[in-house]
Amino acid sequence: MSHATATAHETPAHEVGEGGHHYQPSVPLSIGKFAMWLFLATEIMFFTGLIGSYVVLRFGSKSWPTPEARIVTLKTGEEVRGEEAEKTKDSVTLVLESGKKRTIQKADAVSEGEHGWIRNQSPLNLPLTAANTFFLICSSVTMVLSLSAAQGGDRAKMLRFLLATIVIGAVFVGIQVFEYRKLIFEEHFVPGTNIFASCFYVMTGCHGAHVTGGVIYLITVYLRALAGKVGPHNHEPIEVAGLYWHFVDLVWILLFTVVYLI
């Protein structure tokens, strides 16, 4: 994009377009956006590495604590592990590792306090994390609405939506921390427990670190916006920050599906 004023040299090093976008004449893309996309390209590889190794490790395992995996302790002391195939009031049919099915009667099993007689192999809290996923999606929406407001010239709306994004992002991190505490101190599910635990903590931990960094990044943009440096006249920083935030949301969408649901 070529922007020349009366006294400008014919081909300046870069030009400033509307909304504060800084352009290189050779690349049809503003510098900030280009840099952020390059960074996101590396992040794609980073998270694909993590999720990819999870898939690879899981493929190579005979059993894995999936959402349907159960443990039933019999009165004889035997522990039966398998994926739930059928469940009635008084019995459950588990598919064992060997592939054979085994039906266990409630009467033969030990009931352990609040766990009941059928326990989950996976200690993860699916409903809470599903809610968390919803929150993160909401924060993505508020982020894009903030950018839209900035592009439309509405500074107050832009600030409001930006603040909403920050708050919801912080809530997401808070809920993740709450879950971690419960997993570590109550369920005794630590990275050393098994390979699933190790994968889980590395993946969600790295993602959580990215969200935390994103919240801090957004706070700096927000402070600059309050100071007037960022706004409808200069909305490029909001767009660039938005790219990072949407990417973090995108990764979580995939992570949640792969780790919690499959």
Partner: protein, 253 residues
Amino acid sequence: MSDSIPLASTSSAASNNDWITLTQGARDKAKEYLAANKDREVVRVTFDAQGNLGLELDKLRPGDKTFAQGDVTVAVGGVAADLVKGLVVDFQSSGGKVGFSFGGTAPAATDPKVAIKARELIAAGGAGHDQHSHVSQYMNVFYSLIVLTVLELGCTWLPIGKLAVVLMLMVLAVTKAALVGAYFMHLKFEGRWKHVILVPPTMLAIILVFALMPDISFAEHGNASTKTGASVGQSGHGIEVPAEAPASGHGNH
């Protein structure tokens, strides 16, 4: 004259040759720039924060007023059109400096304050129409994401085989990711550079994972790890495993 230029837009394209004048030199230069930037359609008159007039290469936007000057179409934000009436744009080299210069009787050319006002007018008025259509689009994407998430959660209760559930979940997840990428990250509307930046890392990521799978997933390592929960390395192809190995492989509780 502007009718012959097939520009898809909703501009109020009442062309008036006398409104803005580009000298021959300016026209030639503008044509040159447009030819070098194939996805730009018009030369846009802009006003910066200091009240300086400038020219930009751009696409047509709703609310633009366009003026045909030979082969070059000049656009300006509709609300500011009156302020550029009588503008003369020249391209010259004088005293070692090269560039576009602005003159004529246009109020914006003679008084920087007018130019600043024009800029504010465009920011406030011109984009309003744009914004509404985008917000409803974003909300539609939001509702779709919610529905897809609910479908994902409901998938596990369907009475179909595990493989079918996994496939459905992956399709839903990828759809959600694509929606966020295309609309929130604006990729649907970006140029060809997105392929240059995104395709190589995606290819590398997928290829590397599949390249490692035979080594890690399908190799026989001989013994199940007793400390780790999942017996990594056992062949995934249904070869019989000694009874005692799996039981010791779980360390959940």
